[in-house]
Point group: D3
Chain length 339, copies 6
């Protein structure tokens, strides 16, 4: 068993606690990025995984590599070249004040990569799953092409191809996203999205829903999932559904459609420590379940519990074990001290 | 447009996180004071503002000036003389444990100022609003007289005079407060109070209310506001209403009376980061609305949303923009990440 | 009035904030242990108290002594010898993720003590209460015997003997706990337990209760308390009842039986800062009430309010005064700022 | 009296203490840049100063503005537009391990500015000195042209033009630097350089000197200064001379030539806290002396003492007063506690 | 054996590391004061000691008491009353930049004490040494009288009276100091001074010495010590001699005269961590030696080594054991790791 | 090329900055141990390396593994079992105050390992060098036997066997050390020692040397090295020579004997950041040189420069690259900023 994920890893800079940017003379430093987060999550579950990217050959790039290695993620396909590591600044919100992300990721090493820098035949050798998100192709024209090529090759070689739509409006226009993601979706087996992505990328809107005001209609999302399923002929379409009550308190659940049935997961009431990477931890949970031949129901509950736990962990990475996830799946949600 | 505020700015020392004083070997250092907080809030909304005070001519006084300047508050009328900057120690409460303030502000530079040190003609030159709170006159006999003189002069020169009653029982007796504030109220256009001030200063009690136990009766407060309005012939009386569920969770709303109608704002459920300065941010919101000719309803919602957001921000200052306040006024209270 | 408590004090190492162990390059350092916590709590209430233990004669042991002294706990019966101070690592949980304790307390100085090292006649001289918990006898065979001897001696000398069952499954088997605690209970006047201890130690189960899932049946616990009362002929059996909604939010109440009536305390909804030591602060509250001849009802409310407040305080120790506890007993639970 | 400085201000990110980048999960955050540093230094001496730059219209750009304002530097000519604030990562060296700077400043807002964005007539209105360093023209072709235009305009309007050569080999090639700086030097009255700049930019080498090995020949530098003086017809050429004994210990002195005499300053043995910005604080000291009509000797000693003190201060900025500098000029170098 | 010391303990607030006040958003918090420092030093040597003072009855005053208790200093004669604890702000210097102290100690609880608040008969019961410094009488007229009374009483009761001149020009004028200290010296057995005190208080100047420029003449100080000895008929006059090379590097030695011989201690080259309290640790060393009947030579070397070590320890207190001091006395100054 | 190192990795807990244990409420957390340090150093030079040990199967053990992985050290032979990770507490000394280590490493997982847990045939497969230090066999009888067996096997399989004597008197008696190390030395090719080890283990004393007082006689050490060479028939005997001037300042050099010549390295004057692990970084430098067929002279200078740099780096690990070491070897010791 081996999973490959491909994308950007960034330096993440965030003020301490709930301080605003303008008040900060220290930044917490960590690293993260959608596909890197998936890789670390899977590695924490004991699954061999390689993360493919390009980072500058300096200490900032090396720090990103080191943290991946510390979680046992394979880094041998990482190219060390280019000018800079992308950065995102993250200010943690509280109560009615939203968290805020400032991107400074243009001209990152990975965004400047060329199609011949990645030898997918070699990279996919021995692997049985490939994961990518909509962020990677959004980074540059070249990366759009590289992403499509990678998915195509993965599909050809029989890997399970997983893709999180992950639409970022700061990175590309909806029209361009639609064009590229439609191409990628041809090769995708498992499609993941959140409550906003599908509308933004494919113009398929859930009825009676107002995400900004915290109102979600689950039935509408079931319909949306089915439409994606049919349009792109995937195996599974899964969707996370976040009800934002405030920056501190969210509800979190998910649903999935596999061509036969629509399943809804348990819903969790979450007191948030750090919600970045929740979607990524959901994708990793799905992949874990599918690779381990768990039923779709078990898989969905595992992925949802895993991503519920992510909200309680600082940083982008979901640092939990399979046992910890299963413990929550089994209903031990009381948070009692474990001595 | 230019606003003048006048009062004390103190050094604020607080343990890290939820530590008690007795456990602390580090104090977070910031600066604050009711009228300084109003000044910074207004400056963050883009309104020119001068803060008038007196600080000692040492690095502690200078630090207070520097932080005001960093937020673009004018400091050219600040007198640098005297012995010490007042201090307040703040221990952050949690759950049923209340926050605790220890004042060490006696003999501060400002409290020892003389009436001829401030040339109000020059200070008010070009200004169209003056704000003061009940804390300034409470600091010393001299300051009571200076405050009365300043309000009188402001009124004469046609400035909008705003006053937050802000009763502090550690600073003066209710009788003395009544005497001085009654004098000041002669010149006040906009009177702000919280759920306790009016009773403490003017002996006008809201019926069926027990603040300590967290029970407020809104109708009673409407009646109280009207009584103040009539007694002092103001333009507007506004009152913030805090329901303390615990040190972490409060409800927050406000009401206002303008001689014609009583308006109630939306009520917010707040998860508190730092509630100091909430009243000041409300005053600043009111002034902002009034100076910008917003309707009373818009003004009240703006001020309430602004002060709701204050609770999510560390320190005394309300570091938010007009856009951020308006975003909440428009109902985007879900705290979703802004990328 | 003087209280003696006897047990282990450990070095407590915990990541900052909500970080997981694996993410930490700093540990917060404090010290704690069930009976030490009780001692500090009582000292904070103004009651003379001596803590009896054994620590290594190095700076780590000395640090534990110094912190006890800083809270005015008597340390003159503490033996400075042996190899190491026990350690416990504590990772703070959040939301559905539980807090986690890793013990590294084997071979601690106290666990290796011999029966002749403690001269109970001298230690109990002038004292009128002795407190121990089920952790002390669990540390080693020797300590089991020492604990029994101490309780016996205390009883003989007319001290009020208080014991918190405090079952720790990592320290001993239920069978051994049953044997030793049954012996100790012969001498116990005040027996304290939490919602799990009695079942684990004495096989007396509360019906219709599932602690892990956060479901407690209060009537069942009343029955359990009575059974303990009758089996061991105590004066008072008290039981804390925690409903874990999540790692952040708990409900907390208690009940007590004195042979005549069963009393239930108020129930508190708690937003948790640090829940370690809650049981200890309850025991200390009970002892305080009993030594001060408060009624059982007053005592129970005092102990419950005290331990409610403990949840809002960092570290093992309940750093509150009698006034602060009484303030909560009187219903001032709104957490309003005290200026 | 008013000074204008023009250049880039960057976000500076540095590990805590002597940690290497690879070990850091926190970065200290400050802001700095050669001409901003000069501006702050002058403002600390009480001289009105405006810093001209362009920063992105986000919180990172705003933070840079706020820190300038806190030191009373004028910011009204700062343009808020563009994509990013440049960054430099700084790792503090120790003993034989050198400090290390990683630049991530490409595509910064200022580097993308156009010549018509700065209205020098308006900016120079009321000013009597303009300062720039060789870093500004090195940032982009456009900035080279803007810099030349600014210097020309300043000269025309009778301002004292000060320029620190400040060669950075990561920013441009020596040939290009030579071409542009030769153009700029036409308008320069006061030329500042360090022990490497002149050779790198103008190919005029000090004999018998090996900077890397810490060997400087002062007479050679006198000759170099004269050559520059004659070549470009300046009023004053001044040169700082650093002998690096280790990353912790340096010697520091300077010399100046004014067409008549070469003066050498006192030499200081420095234990380094933070040496970044030392050259900038020297330039500011020179400007201060010249604007205040101090003799060249006094000016040189003032500038050297000021820059000596800079080494003892964290961050890029030289936070010292005129009194503190004069105190050192007068020989009080013993560092005795001032009570 | 028991020692009594009497004076003020203050809250000490200092920026982290080498930051200047103006850069600080955190202050390290500790407590200190000349006589409190002596008390803690002696307690660390195993000598029973009581510190007598007056602190406000709030958490800041309590924190001062707690830290004294943690070091086993007796606090039962401390009066808890009054308005505030005195504060001193300390900025740590580096290289040529001096450390800076800002006092905010006026109107402290102790400074307002009355002569009848301290029952010296009871306080001195069982004691055999009393220590005071020139700071205590400088705090107020009342304290001058109380100090004189205490010394007189101590002398009458046969205690060894030790006094450190400790002149502070911010607290009183030289003339007043001369008057009061001359009175106190009537009762003093052991007089301690540093290289400045004697001149400032008694107008007895060491020849050929320029303290500010770091030049000391040891023979002159011997003469000064003799003059004091003769003038006041003490048993021992001891003087610490600090040569300040920079804020980081000092030389440190001492001399003593006992009516027969003048002894000079070893001189130490010190790399400074925190030099506050060095004089106090010297006094404590002297007292330790004298109480233990060590020879004057041994005593002087012990006191000098002890105070040498103080420079390596953060805070006011000299946290070293007798063994650690003796180790240095015996010449183990190499600082090798002790495993 | 592949190196195997075998030993214990511990949790290292140290107060912040120069604080003493007794003052600390935070510990910096890192991991280290002699052979782990060598492994990381070699990995930083690009050499494949596996570290062999045994750690408990909990988060503390896992953290040790993760940090090794982050530096690309192979961890697949690490056994996860046993009760605890050994701990060492480290207090950083300053000036005349020595650093202090408190060991709490008894009963660590590795110390309880059995001889059949390590399959050296498999471990050594593909390796060409094995490194161990005298600490490993000192941990327990079993480990002494395992160490001997490992060295014997390594020698048989043709690996270069490197051993650092590393005597720790807290771990075993000199007699036992002599017995076991004499056995191990039979198989050792490269023997490393510091200025104390050889005397302590083999009773071969360097004449005219007093390590405690900081006096070393280099010629004596040459003689000592030769005696070891001859006694055990090694290829190379190398010795580091530290002259401790103070806890902050040391001199550092080394010598080596290869049966033909004695070479002395350059001597470095070091300002210390953290000197733990210096010897380990020297061993790693030697191994690097020998594996890369550098001459003995080059190897010695490389190892000495590498270990000189270690003193400037926080923690046990020598985080430097080959380029950084070579830069120092080439004489660039001035610590100039690298931009």
């Amino acid at each position: 068993m081996k999973v490959i994920t491909f994308g950007e890893i960034m330096l993440r800079l965030s003020p301490e606690g709930y301080k605003r940017f303008i008040q900060s003379d220290k930044f917490n430093v960590t690293y993260g990025g959608s596909e890197a987060n998936v890789a670390i999550s899977l590695s924490n579950y004991g699954i061999p995984v390689e993360f493919v990217t390009k980072v500058p050959n300096n200490e900032i790039g090396q720090s990103a590599i080191n943290i991946l290695r510390s979680y046992n993620v394979g880094t041998r396909h990482i190219i060390k070249e280019g000018e800079r590591l992308g950065i995102y600044y993250l200010e943690k919100g509280a109560s009615q004040r939203p968290s805020k992300v400032i991107y400074d990721r243009k001209n990152s090493a990975i965004s400047k990569s060329n199609i011949n820098e990645f030898d997918w035949d070699e990279i996919f050798n021995g692997a049985n799953c490939f994961h990518i998100s909509g962020i990677t192709p959004a980074l540059s024209k070249n990366l759009a092409n590289i992403s499509i090529a990678a998915c195509k090759k993965a599909k050809e070689q029989g890997l399970l191809v997983s893709c999180d739509l992950n639409y970022r409006n700061k990175l590309w226009a909806r029209k361009e996203a639609n064009r590229v993601m439609s191409e990628i979706m041809k090769y995708v087996d498992v499609c993941v999205a959140n409550e906003e992505d599908i509308e933004k990328v494919f113009n398929i809107k859930a009825e009676n829903t107002d995400v900004e005001k915290g109102k979600l209609n689950i039935e509408s999302y079931e319909s949306v999932a089915k439409q994606i399923y049919e349009k792109f002929d995937c195996q599974i379409v899964a969707c996370t559904l976040r009800t934002s009550l405030s920056a501190n308190d969210n509800k979190w659940m998910s649903l999935a459609y596999d061509g036969e049935k629509t399943l809804q997961s348990k819903e969790y009431n979450i007191h948030i420590v750090d919600r970045v990477g929740a979607g990524d931890s959901f994708s990793a949970g799905l992949i874990y379940g599918l690779l381990n031949k768990m039923s779709l129901e078990e898989t969905l509950e595992f992925a949802t519990a895993a991503s519920c736990l992510k909200h309680s962990i600082e940083g982008d990475f979901n640092i939990v074990t399979v046992d910890e996830v299963n413990n929550l799946v089994e209903g031990n949600a009381s948070g009692r001290v474990q001595r």
